[in-house]
Assembly symmetry: C2
Homo-oligomer: 502 residues x 2
């Protein structure tokens, strides 16, 4: 039984039973579901994803209410999050209909300068059943029905979700909706399984039936699980989206021109969801002197008047309190602003802004602290700003605020950011990760455990697919998408040339 | 100093000095080369790859002669291999010119059902310097100038090669040619470094400057290095192409119709390069009775008359002798044919065909033995053949020989093969891996350590690239390929739609 706790009060509201039985049984049921998903074909899987979205919509009021009670994130935010999730299912339905994601490639038999070649036809095929770890901070968008699940099902991979302990009732509701959607599309096998608990987390990563893992969470847990996946007798891909500092650099002219506005935006971005976003700005690198001072004042003013916020769970609130107390005690660090105190009972976090000496930037100070804490660091020259940025190493995002007069310096910052992060933000803030074709949510370690692939956006589907090549196989034994004349036209590469169909 | 040995005699012909100095220096020189390769742009890197091919051609006679003296593979095979290598450089030049490999994607700012989205532009960017491990069995195609090096340089990643001890002089010659090609293209930095030795192999995988590893070799060494890469403070991708049994299943009608022809093809494929291909057929699964007997007889006849062949090195010849003696002593295994004996001196391997009882298929019998040994197994029913095929687990390839009358059975074999290997061959043999767009050379572990990507063919370039996304970045600060109007047209996805340019 898993306790479903209200983080606003700390009270256990209900106890949730294991929804789908023993882990071995859950994994065993995923294997035949692979054949069913493959047999459905692209059009059938697109219909299934849409039916899943519809089934979530039918339960919208209930899902949002239960998720709010379990996470304290508020009905408005959770409503938006559910809309994002159903939109994501629709996007992957469109990806399937288009079909270019298969990378279907036909090289007819012929001669090449390196000799004759047989008829070769390549496309991407699902890896097999995969495990998805629900994240605490997005109970609908990075959990049972989130981007990992949607992209894996689209690829044709059955999913076993390790539900997050911080929202078990939400997880059960969402899993029921997804399975109802599958049944509405004529699929009665276990395309989505659900399990809970730390012991099952470890067993899942090591389970022979699992062919890949999707994870969103901390560096500590993510690395431990990645190491387990790599140490299997048959290592499998581990797609972990871990932690990042999400550096923000403000150039001098931008700071002079619109310091108050930048400061207000920074405070709002850092407070969003009580600082519990993987893209929360963790550090702002500001010009010393009056230009930077305007930003600083705008940030501090907002944080001092900000109330404590409900955090996702008692464990997370405790980790935040512990983490910030370590930061505060670090030599070279001073407290610049503190928000409202935490009430008794429940899981609360007090917003906090710290100033740091550039020389102090190592250890805890350059690592993510999950929650509403922001570090301010000042620079006195372009070189110093670049050196400070390098201290924070690879990450998910880097943000540059610059005006026309900052152009030369900004270009150097962009060049460094391109080499070290997955998304470069210009005159904006890193929170907000749009579900779209061009999005990339990832970055070199420790931002993610696999920098080559994204966990958000249409290309997230690539993580669950591997190529297979058919040599001289007769037309009628080939997958439809590799026949000379497929049933439905799709973009393919034929004899070296891309041929567009849409 | 590394000894350059003639495997036909076992005599050390020359001693090769470390060509490019201390490993830390080699790696340090790779980092500025990254900037140079990126600055060259796609057209500049295409010119560089062609200049490298030209520099190899200028040295063709010398390279083939030295490689033959070091490997015993013979001038004809090595000439073909060099042609393959220069063709491969040309193919990647074409991949660069086309530009679709960048996956350039533009989503203009707008509104979506999930809310407003900023301007987002994504493309693939080089990972950074990478290490490539030369393989003993393809001194020109999977070594200093092979597919890993060509695809990494095309991507914009400088390469540090761990040259194989079995052909050090060839490696030095090839590295000189590649650097001369780079200089001809105006690039004077260390785009290709070369080092040798077991100690440097381990240091290279752990070196902070290295961002990915390409490897072709044994399961034992590959797994050890993959584990090292995964255990780094910052884990990096390890693309290991390891071992495979390359199963061949012959269906009953095909066996009856053309048993002698299939047997002759099987023997030739297994003897190619003295069995030292990663795609060597390791086991043939044949129908019991007269149909299978014709294949068996044709194989045995050819193997009994085959001479011993020069193997690549004394270490490999010793491993082959040891491995086959273990197989011969396994219960349930009988020797069916043995080729010519090995002369004194040098590194030799005797061709060998073994028969195995289906019940004996575990342990050594289902794992690759590098060299000219083939296992024959008989089946009495479709179910038994499928069960035998499953015993061999995942692999690089699976081959099916079938006629029209075998169609139902063949479809079941193809379905199983699609789920377990990277390339499915129909009425052919697995040796021969064409360099083309549709080729896939890879497969689930232990065939490779990363089943998502190939080490042969145009898409091999994807291994050395990671996505980066620009949010609201002004046109003039974006990479050329992401501007609304790029200098040279290329295929991109704009606002969700692929737009073809060629």
């Amino acid at each position: 039984m898993i306790a479903s706790v209200d983080p606003r009060t700390g009270i256990v509201v209900e106890e949730i039973g294991e929804p789908t039985g023993d882990l071995d049984e859950v994994c065993a049921r995923a294997e035949p579901a692979l054949t069913d998903l493959v047999d459905l074909g692209r059009a059938g899987r697109a219909a299934m994803l849409r039916a899943m979205a519809a089934a979530l919509e039918v339960r919208r009021a209930q899902i949002v209410a239960v998720a709010d009670r379990e996470t304290g994130l508020g009905p408005q935010r959770l409503g938006t999050e559910l809309t994002r999730t159903t939109f994501q299912l629709e996007l992957f339905a469109q990806v399937l209909e288009e079909g270019a994601y298969l990378e279907a490639t036909i090289d007819h038999a012929g001669t090449t300068p390196a000799g004759p070649r047989p008829d070769l036809r390549r496309l991407l095929t699902p890896l097999g059943p995969v495990a998805v770890f629900g994240a605490s901070n997005f109970p609908l968008a990075f959990s049972v029905p989130g981007g990992d699940t949607a992209s894996a099902l689209a690829a044709g991979c059955p999913v076993v979700v390790l539900g997050h302990d911080a929202h078990p009732a939400t997880s059960v509701l969402a899993a029921e909706a997804l399975l109802e959607g599958a049944r509405a599309a004529g699929l009665h096998s276990s395309v989505v399984g659900l399990t809970f608990g730390h012991a099952n987390a470890l067993r899942l990563v090591g389970h022979p039936a699992m062919r890949a893992i999707g994870f969103t969470g901390s560096v500590r847990v993510g690395r431990m699980l990645a190491d387990l996946a790599a140490a299997r007798p048959d290592p499998i891909p581990f797609y972990g989206e871990l932690g990042a500092m999400n550096t923000v650099v403000v150039c001098p002219a931008a700071a002079s021109d619109r310091g108050a506005q930048i400061g207000a935006g920074l405070a709002a971005s850092m407070l969003l969801g009580v600082g519990q976003f993987c893209t929360k700005p963790g550090v702002a690198i500001l010009p010393a002197g009056t230009a930077g001072a305007a930003i600083r004042e705008a940030v501090l003013e907002r944080i001092e008047s900000a109330p404590a916020g409900t955090m996702l769970s008692d464990r997370i609130a405790t980790a935040y309190a512990f983490g910030t107390s370590r930061l505060v005690q670090t030599p070279g660090v001073e407290v610049l602003a503190r928000g409202g105190g935490t009430p008794d009972g429940g899981s609360w976090g007090t917003p906090l802004v710290l100033g740091a000496d550039p020389d102090a930037l190592h250890g805890d100070l350059v690592e993510e602290c999950f929650g509403p804490v922001l570090l301010l660091v000042e620079y006195s020259s372009d070189e110093e700003a670049l050196a400070i940025l390098r201290r924070f190493g690879p990450g998910l995002t880097a943000t540059v605020h610059a005006d026309a007069a900052d152009r030369t310096f900004a270009r150097r910052l962009l060049d460094l950011a391109t080499r070290t992060v997955g998304r470069v933000v210009w005159n904006g803030f890193p929170t907000g990760v749009a579900v779209t074709w061009a999005m990339h949510h990832g970055g070199p370690y420790p931002a993610t455990t696999n920098a080559l692939h994204t966990s958000v956006g249409a290309t997230a589907i690539r993580r669950w697919l591997r190529p297979v090549c058919y040599q001289d196989v007769p037309e009628d034994l080939l997958p439809d998408e590799l026949r000379d004349v497929p049933t439905a036209a799709l973009t393919r590469r034929v004899d070296g040339r891309l041929r567009l169909e849409s």
